[in-house]
């Protein structure tokens, strides 16, 4: 889609917010909070979703001066949100791993009740970060494998492999 042909519905509020108008930023928040919060829940889990979404909007406020209007504000915010949430999730894992090296392994293969039928949040959490991020970005956020490769710094073939493994595990957990 040609960006030039699509007027950005947020343009006026973005310009005002970039000059420090918090009321304009509040309007932007309420326009996009549901999507950002959903993304946070999918990437960092339900427990951390509130904090994750908060981090995203504070970063967006700080970075507004760098928004050049080359994409719609919603697109820019979503990309920023993915990066902030992935970074925070990775940082949390690193800090936890420094304290307890076994913690990451536990995250990767968390024991669960094999008879329990899970909801999507629990199943995604059980996937572990490597697979979950690819499944979320591809199947829930509509990223291509090229975009996932750029975002997560992995190859396209690795992205395809993780997606298939993730879906295969979800099939076992969600449908049995």
């Amino acid at each position: 889609m040609n960006r030039q042909s699509v007027p950005d519905p947020d343009a006026r509020d973005v310009a005002r917010a970039a000059r420090g108008d918090t009321q304009a930023f509040e309007r932007l928040y309420f326009s996009h909070a549901a999507r950002v919060h959903t993304l946070a829940r999918r990437i960092v889990g339900r427990d951390l979703a509130d904090d994750g979404a908060q981090e995203v909007f504070v970063h967006a406020w700080e970075q507004l001066g760098k928004f050049r209007g080359e994409a719609l504000f919603g697109t820019w915010l979503h990309r920023l949100a993915v990066n902030v949430l992935l970074r925070n999730a990775e940082m949390a894992r690193r800090i936890a791993a420094r304290v307890s090296p076994a913690f990451v392994e536990e995250l990767e293969a968390r024991p669960t009740d094999p008879d329990a039928r899970m909801d999507i949040d629990s199943a995604l959490a059980r996937l572990g970060p490597g697979l979950r991020e690819v499944v979320v970005l591809h199947d829930l956020e509509g990223y291509s494998h090229d975009e996932i490769g750029d975002t997560l710094a992995i190859s396209v073939s690795a992205s395809k492999m993780r997606l298939h493994r993730g879906r295969t595990l979800l099939r076992e957990w969600l449908l049995q």
Binding site: V58, E62, A92, V99, A109, R167, R171
Partner: protein, 234 residues
């Protein structure tokens, strides 16, 4: 993580690619030929399709109550940090100027300061005198008259405290507190994912204590500075 697959059928590894339509045309035809005779692949494919449909059915969340005030409370701090970063960017870009340009700027600034300083000293001396007599080399000044000038009050001390939004003596302390806040936020975020971790909890406690001490130092210093500030001219 160890993942085992039930089948050794190589097509089982390509099911997602088929589902997403990313197989090459020749591969797609080969797979569909295979699919007609392979019950296992048909079942697995149906399962994957159901997973994707279920993921697509995931709804957007409601906006959580009370989230905006918490974010709004952090925006002012974020803005101050952002301005500080902008100043740092200006400082770095100045470093890229050529040395000759910098010398010219410095020389011009020195001359200006000297000129302004000279005028200021001269004006101060004149103002400090209660009665000013016109010099004789001013030919058309009416002789015999004097100009009375009120004596200037001493206002040489500039207030040391100038508020939060400008650079002042306490800026380094404020920056340290802002840095601690960031670390605290990071540590608290990590602690949420590992709530039973005692080391992380201790880190949060230590950072909180350090932040409280720094804030107390800042408050005390600012308060002393205000008390010691000389009276302004009326």
């Amino acid at each position: 993580m160890t993942i085992t697959f039930e089948s050794n059928d190589p097509w089982q590894e390509r099911l997602s690619e088929y589902l997403d339509g990313s197989l090459a045309e020749s591969e797609r035809q080969g797979f569909e030929d295979h699919l007609r005779g392979c019950e296992s692949c048909r079942t697995a494919l149906a399962g994957l399709r159901a997973v994707v449909e279920r993921l697509h059915a995931d709804q957007l969340d409601e906006i959580p109550d009370g989230a905006w005030p918490r974010i709004a409370a952090r925006l002012d701090r974020a803005q101050i940090r952002s301005r500080r970063d902008a100043r740092e960017r200006v400082r770095r870009s100045t470093g890229a100027l050529e040395a000759a340009t910098l010398r010219r700027i410095t020389t011009a600034a020195s001359l200006t300061l000297t000129l302004v300083g000279g005028i200021w000293v001269g004006a101060s001396l004149c103002l400090a005198t209660s009665v000013w007599t016109p010099p004789k080399w001013i030919p058309f000044w009416p002789r015999g008259g004097h100009i009375s000038v009120p004596k200037q009050r001493s206002t040489l001390s500039v207030p040391a405290y100038a508020g939060d939004s400008v650079l002042d003596a306490w800026t380094p302390l404020r920056r340290s507190i802002a840095a601690l806040d960031q670390q605290l936020a990071d540590a608290a975020f990590a602690l949420r994912s590992q709530p039973n971790d005692k080391t992380l909890a201790r880190v949060v406690v230590e950072l909180t204590r350090e932040r409280r001490n720094l804030q107390a130092t800042l408050d005390s210093a600012v308060s002393s500075s205000r008390r010691a500030r000389p009276m302004s001219p009326r």
